[in-house]
């Protein structure tokens, strides 16, 4: 569905020409069985706790989403209007699969669910995200997370 040929020509061209970062290294962290992993979600949907200021373009920050935060207390302020939001409106798991992750933990498929998950503004430039990544990884380590699911919009 999101193949470039399915999008408007202007949008397909913009995405085709998007300046993606190219890295000289290719890190790879091997781990144990999924059943022993503690998993966090990091979403680029610009979602955050209701009442917080919007996630602004250019602000290279992340927002914390406690696992206990009810879906009704989460809003989305992504800068782009060029993607579907009706799926999110019907079911937050369409972009932030927190309930599915909990189910997998209950069944022992994964070890556990992190206490806190995170959101960034996916429209910002990841080439500016080194400091963000430092802070984010510090937080993940404090939560003993050893596996991250990255979920885009």
């Amino acid at each position: 569905m999101a193949r470039l040929e399915d999008l408007t020509p202007a949008m397909a061209q913009r995405l085709r020409e998007l300046d993606c970062p190219v890295y000289p290294s290719a890190p790879f962290v091997a781990g144990g069985k999924l059943s022993s992993r503690r998993v966090a979600i990091v979403s680029s949907a610009g979602i955050h706790r209701r009442g917080e200021p919007p996630m602004m373009p250019g602000a290279n920050e992340f927002r914390a989403l406690p696992a206990s935060l009810p879906a009704a207390d989460i809003v989305m302020t992504h800068v782009s209007v060029n993607y579907d939001r009706t799926g999110f409106q019907r079911d937050i798991n369409t972009i932030y699969p927190i309930d599915r992750l909990r189910e997998l933990a209950r069944e022992g498929v994964i070890g556990s669910v992190a206490d806190t998950h995170y959101s960034v503004m996916g429209a910002n430039d990841p080439k500016q995200w080194d400091a963000l990544a430092d802070q984010l990884v510090d937080r993940l380590r404090q939560d003993r997370v050893d596996a991250v699911l990255l979920s885009p919009v």
């Binding site: 569905m1 999101a2 193949r3 470039l4 399915d6 999008l7 408007t8 949008m11 995405l15 998007l18 993606c20 970062p21 190219v22 890295y23 290719a26 890190p27 962290v29 091997a30 781990g31 999924l34 992993r37 680029s44 209701r50 009442g51 200021p53 919007p54 809003v75 989305m76 302020t77 782009s80 209007v81 993607y83 579907d84 939001r85 009706t86 799926g87 999110f88 409106q89 079911d91 369409t94 972009i95 699969p97 309930d99 599915r100 189910e103 997998l104 498929v109 996916g122 990544a133 990884v137 380590r141 997370v145 050893d146 596996a147 991250v148 699911l149 990255l150 979920s151 885009p152 919009v153």
Partner: protein, 235 residues
């Protein structure tokens, strides 16, 4: 998200990235990625479909057990059934027939038309509305001010410019309609819901007029934000 996968993995934590634009995944070369053939905005594919979401999630998480990287990039084969129009779907709300104001209408005319049209719309208990931090009763005047070329000088939302407040009010206005259009259990495609909203409502006409007025403004900030009121595919 592939880029953030690289940055997190570089710092010692394993990652797997869902991805919707395969070309970007190929360029960034994240440690582990699962390309999903879903529409933008639906990385798990299907709202309300626990089994489908679970299958996607397991396909992604299973890559964490692979040791043959970097780089692992797999494709998820199954399309989301909800991409197709649902036969017989109808919006869950009947809007009153309200004439869409002409482009040159006054702010008061836009406000009156919007209030008349949205009267039957009720906010859900589990609504996603609220990102704009502005109560619903303030949206019409704020947006109509921009539509009529007379934007407010004072922002109704602390910390935001007036046009930023209007931009997030526009998101909330759209959600007011599109949430109300789908009753629990209904499974319309996104296109069905968005066609209904963008092809005939006063609200959509108002957002298009805000966009046009912002593009025509001498204010560079308004020019920049104009494109955030209406999706490119709905201009």
């Amino acid at each position: 998200m592939s880029a953030l996968g690289h940055l997190i993995e570089q710092r010692g934590i394993a990652t797997v990235a869902l991805g919707i634009i395969r070309l970007h995944m190929e360029k960034v070369r994240a440690p582990r990625g699962l390309w999903v053939p879903f529409e933008l905005g639906r990385p798990l594919g299907e709202p309300g479909d626990v089994a489908f979401q679970r299958h996607v999630l397991l396909a992604a998480l299973s890559l964490l057990e692979r040791t043959d990287g970097p780089v692992i990039l797999e494709d998820y084969a199954e399309e989301a059934p909800g991409r197709l129009p649902r036969d017989g779907w109808r919006p869950a709300v009947d809007l009153p027939a309200v004439a869409i104001p002409a482009a040159e209408s006054s702010a008061a005319e836009w406000v009156a038309a919007l209030r008349a049209e949205w009267a039957p719309l009720v906010v859900r208990a589990d609504t996603t509305i609220g990102g704009g931090r502005l109560a619903r009763e303030h949206w019409p005047a704020l947006l109509a001010g921009f539509a009529s070329g007379a934007p407010p000088t004072q922002s109704p939302v602390e910390g935001l410019r007036p046009v930023q407040a209007a931009r997030y009010a526009a998101d909330d206005l759209t959600a007011l309609y599109t949430e109300a259009a789908v009753k629990p259990g209904d499974k319309p495609s996104s296109a069905q819901v968005l066609d209904w909203f963008w092809n005939g409502t006063v609200a959509a006409a108002l957002l298009r007029q805000v966009r046009a007025a912002c593009l025509a403004s001498d204010d560079r900030v308004l020019n920049l934000i104009a494109g955030q009121f209406v999706p490119a595919a709905r201009v």
